[in-house]
């Protein structure tokens, strides 16, 4: 192999510089090697070339050229109901440049074959042990003519990582090496790189395989966390527009993500403009539906002229969901306290912000402070959150205390510690917020960011409180539209339980959700 090593070095050099030399080398030195040697060489080159170069589209293209020359081609699999071996790749999704999601099916006579995915650059990843396998009734039916023989779990889905970036949209190959010694391959469809579409597809697949949650636990969670990082990471603050002169050293920054329903801005500004306490706070709107930038700028100018209440608008380069938008708002905010607020929250009367701040300051170690939120018919939307699961089930759901009861319900009129509060209206000290890392970004635009924030605060030794004196209306579900969240909530709920199940169980041991509980005084009904 000494000769190969010298040649290998020349090959790596040629990858960087000389296309002519690259081609000559491949022809003269490597093409004649045995298949196994070529495969091994290819793998090493692909891996080490990237280490030296950091990866680029041009390098990917050259590596792909090398792969095409050196790779041992297997017979192309023709899917035929009379042929016992079948292989198909239905989709390959890019999570980021180094991690992917693949799904398809493989049919063979007996279990135990290997499924290997080959990147355009020549990386080989064996999915056999890794993939989530499941029965595909459609495949079973297709091969019904061959009798009942054959592997049961034809379907495969897997999240996998490469040692280096892959930047080519096509050229992926999947090989099937059967236990009986046969081998075939198929070309994969082009890689889908659109993060939103990728996310929707993965969530759809998770929905098809739940419960049990093995697909989510072993594949979905990793893929979606990476995807969230990518989506959030790609959204940067592009500009901050300031209307009027916001207070210089505000006690509180009110952070409000705006998503699609820009009409809420007008309603909030009208109601905020009649409350002197809001003029002392810093108002930060974050536009998460970035395509509405021009429209919002035009409206914001007009509405500032009418209501004269100063505010800022943060324009990110891309949308990143509720937690991502809040992150931008916090980055811009200068207040010592943060008031997280939804755009569909309208105060019942002036004075609520002062009530919340005074209560917060008077408390010992308050984490997040929530308000009494009402539906438009004066029933309770929020009086603190707790966690709930049906007997015999594993997964904890977020539940709202006294939801749907009248706003005057006595037990909801008591200020008290609660397991969590909604971020539709929550006051948090900025340092405490940052100490625990703020709203988590790993949920897929879900309802669990706020409860995890509260669980993090509780873990750090703070107490979350509910304050009934601050009363606001929350037109729940009018901002982030509910339809986009169906299916998401299952996954988010599962992830939340997976991460915090023990803490939640311990919290709920001590908390009675059906009574007013005053700290240190037991239960009051």
């Amino acid at each position: 192999m000494a000769r190969a090593t010298v040649a290998e070095k020349r090959l790596r050099k040629a990858l960087d510089a000389d296309e002519h030399e690259l081609k000559a080398l491949l022809r003269e030195e490597f093409a004649g090697l045995a298949a196994e040697q070529r495969a091994e060489l290819l793998q090493r080159v692909a891996k080490s070339a990237v280490k030296g170069n950091g990866g680029s589209a041009a390098l990917s293209a050259r590596l792909h050229g090398v792969r095409e020359v050196l790779r041992e081609r297997l017979p192309i699999c023709v899917v035929d109901e009379r042929q016992p071996i079948g292989l198909a790749v239905e989709q390959i999704l890019a999570i980021d440049e180094r991690s992917f999601w693949i799904s398809g099916w493989a049919r063979e006579e007996e279990a135990g074959g290997r499924i290997v995915v080959v990147s355009p650059e020549g990386h080989r990843v064996d999915l056999s042990k890794r993939a989530f396998r499941f029965e595909r009734p459609d495949v079973v039916q297709f091969y019904a003519g061959l009798g009942r023989a054959g592997d049961r779990d034809q379907g495969f889905t897997a999240f996998f990582e490469l040692p280096a970036s892959s930047r080519l949209g096509s050229g992926w190959v999947v090989e099937l090496h059967t236990a009986a010694g046969a081998a075939v391959e198929v070309q994969c469809p082009p890689v889908n790189t659109d993060p939103q579409a990728v996310r929707t597809t993965i969530l759809g697949e998770l929905g098809n395989h739940a419960p049990p949650r093995r697909l989510a636990a072993e594949h979905g969670r990793h893929a979606l966390s990476r995807l969230q990082e990518r989506i959030v990471g790609e959204a940067e603050i592009d500009s901050v527009d300031t209307y009027g002169e916001p207070p210089e050293l505000p006690e509180v920054s009110v952070i409000i993500p705006l998503y699609r329903r820009l009409d809420f801005l007008e309603h909030q500004l009208l109601h905020f403009s009649i409350d002197p306490e809001l003029a002392e706070a810093e108002l930060v709107y974050v536009l998460d539906s970035v395509e509405q930038r021009e429209e919002l700028a035009a409206r914001a100018r007009e509405l500032f002229a009418l209501y004269r209440l100063p505010f800022r608008v943060v324009n990110p380069t891309a949308g990143s969901g509720f937690a991502g938008a809040n992150r931008h708002g916090v980055a811009v905010a200068s207040g010592r306290k943060l008031l997280l607020l939804n755009s569909d929250v309208i105060p019942d009367r002036p004075g609520w912000l002062g009530e919340m701040c005074r209560f917060y300051d008077a408390g010992e170690r308050i984490g997040a402070l929530g308000a009494k939120l009402l539906y438009e018919d004066d029933s309770l939307q929020h009086a603190g959150l707790y966690f709930h699961r049906l007997p015999g089930t594993e997964v904890w759901e977020n539940a709202h205390r006294f939801k749907g009861l009248h706003r005057s319900f006595p037990a909801a009129a008591v200020a008290q510690p609660v397991p969590a509060v909604t971020a539709a209206c929550a006051l948090v000290d900025r340092e405490r917020y940052e100490e625990v890392g703020g709203l988590p970004l790993h949920y897929v635009q879900g309802d669990y960011e706020d409860s995890e924030l509260c669980l993090r605060l509780a873990e750090a030794g703070y107490e979350n409180w509910y304050l009934p004196e601050a009363e606001l209306y929350h037109l729940e579900g009018q901002s982030y539209v509910a339809e986009a969240r169906r299916g998401l909530s299952d996954y988010n709920m599962w992830l939340h339980s997976e991460l915090w199940g023990e803490e939640i169980a311990a919290t709920m041991e001590r908390f009675d959700p059906h009574a007013a509980t005053v700290a240190g005084q037991g239960v009051r009904r």
């Binding site: 009409d263 007008e266 309603h267 009208l270 109601h271 403009s273 009649i274 007009e302 509405l303 002229a305 009418l306 209501y307 004269r308 569909d344 309208i346 438009e376 018919d377 209306y473 037109l475 009018q478």
Partner: protein, 430 residues
């Protein structure tokens, strides 16, 4: 002491499009103009839905009316008005144009007759630009409360509605969410908070606004004052029985057009009643309604005569041949001006037993009530009314003179003075 400057704002000018509230607003402006110590202004909205002409001058929505230095048009695009939230989407109307107008005119009192096509934001902007100005608002219908053209009649079955709520409004308009109605209500109330005094021409209208949430100490009943007609209609031509009934107003469902026709078809063959329809705006109704109206009035041509639109000045002549006036509306109304007109000419009224009709017509004193929307009840009432010259004579004697414009002006000036004082104290104190 300088004259009291009072700015009247109205959604339309009666020379563009006839209507009760706008006719009253112009009469009030004219009466104030003749009152010593008062310098009134009238600002009437104009737009492409009522006038052929677009904005008169480049760069301003304002233009003078008929060379009167006290009367102005303000042009607003109909398409810019948000009929749901009752606001103009063109905020420059408030922040620039109306602000300029207010600062140039500096009224002591802004008395709004209507904010339709202009928008409720005007109320906040007046308060911001002229903190010392008194804001008075006369409520003419239920638009701030009810999205169904301010009628408070439900969209299904035309049931009268006594109380709006996000839930009930969503029942009437399933495509609009309860949350949207909630925001609408809060938005309108947010701007209404700047009004010093609301005036309700009828107690029934005031009751509905009180229930909706206008504070009790900021609203009171003040009936429309009316100028006396130049000429009063004489007695109807001598007839054995008082058989002639007149209808004045828009021929629309809400005004009870169908109820009237149904009742006329149900009359006893012996009954000699005849209905004279002096109806406007038939062409604005739906084609189906117009079609049905044409067929029905033709079938009833022996009992019903359609005489078309009329001019206000013609009223004495048209009243001359009539014994009764019928007001069969199936919605609440406010204080129907036709009732005052009829009483000026001393015609007793056959009226629906709800809302403004029930309040302004006293059953058995100056008119007769029938069950609103009930054609059978109206038919029996007409039979009874037209059969008895004695009843007619008694009711005619029970009629009192309508509330005069002079008294109304005097009362308004008292209220303005009171509010101006209060406002001064607030501004100095605050």
């Amino acid at each position: 002491m300088s004259d009291l400057r009072v700015l009247y704002v109205v959604h339309n000018h009666p020379t563009l499009h006839p209507g009760g509230a706008e006719a009253y607003a112009l009469e009030l402006y004219e009466a104030m103009r003749e009152t010593p110590g008062v310098e009134p202004l009238l600002l009437a909205r104009i737009g492409t839905n009522v006038a052929r002409r677009r904005v008169a001058h480049p760069g301003t929505p304002f233009s003078a009316v008929n060379g009167d230095p006290g009367q102005y048009f303000v042009f607003t695009e109909t398409e810019h008005f948000d009929f749901f939230t009752l606001t103009s989407r063109d905020k420059a109307l408030y922040t620039r144009h109306l602000t300029d107008f207010l600062l140039a005119q500096r009224p002591d009192v802004v008395h709004l007759q209507h904010t339709h096509f202009i928008g409720v934001d005007l109320l906040s902007q007046i308060r911001r630009v002229l903190p010392e100005a008194t804001i008075v608002y006369t409520l003419h219908e239920f638009l701030p409360i009810c999205h169904r053209d301010g009628q408070m009649v439900r969209t299904f079955g035309d049931e009268l509605c006594a109380e709006a709520s996000p839930r009930r409004c969503n029942e009437c308009f399933p495509e609009l969410s309860p949350q949207a109605f909630f925001l609408r209500e809060r938005f309108v109330k947010g701007h209404f908070a700047n009004v010093d005094r609301f005036l309700a021409p009828s107690a029934q209208l005031m009751d509905k606004y009180l229930r909706w949430g206008i504070p009790e100490d900021r609203i009171e009943v003040e009936e429309y004052g009316r100028r006396e007609p130049l000429r009063r209609a004489g007695d109807p031509a001598a007839m054995r029985t008082p058989t002639n009934i007149g209808f004045f107003g828009q021929l629309s469902r809400f005004k009870g057009a169908e109820v009237m026709l149904d009742a006329m078809a149900m009359l006893d063959p012996e009954c000699e009643a005849h209905l004279w329809l002096h109806g406007a705006n038939l062409e604005l109704q739906t084609p189906e309604f117009q079609e049905e109206f044409a067929v029905r009035s033709d079938e009833l041509r022996d009992r019903v005569t359609f005489r078309g639109p009329y001019d206000h000045d013609e009223l004495p002549r048209l009243m001359e041949g009539l014994h009764w006036v019928v007001v069969p509306s199936i919605w609440w109304e406010n204080s129907p001006l036709v009732i005052q007109e009829a009483f000026f000419h001393r015609r007793p009224i056959i009226a629906s037993d709800v809302g403004g009709m029930a309040e302004k017509v006293a059953d058995g004193v100056d008119g007769i009530h029938f069950r609103a929307g009930d054609a059978w009840s109206l038919a029996r009432t007409i039979e009874r009314a037209t059969a008895s010259p004695q009843l007619w004579q008694e009711l005619r004697e029970g009629i009192r003179e309508p509330y005069a414009m002079d008294a109304h002006v005097e009362r308004l000036l008292e209220l303005y003075a009171e509010d101006v004082e209060t406002r001064k104290a607030v501004v100095v104190g605050g």
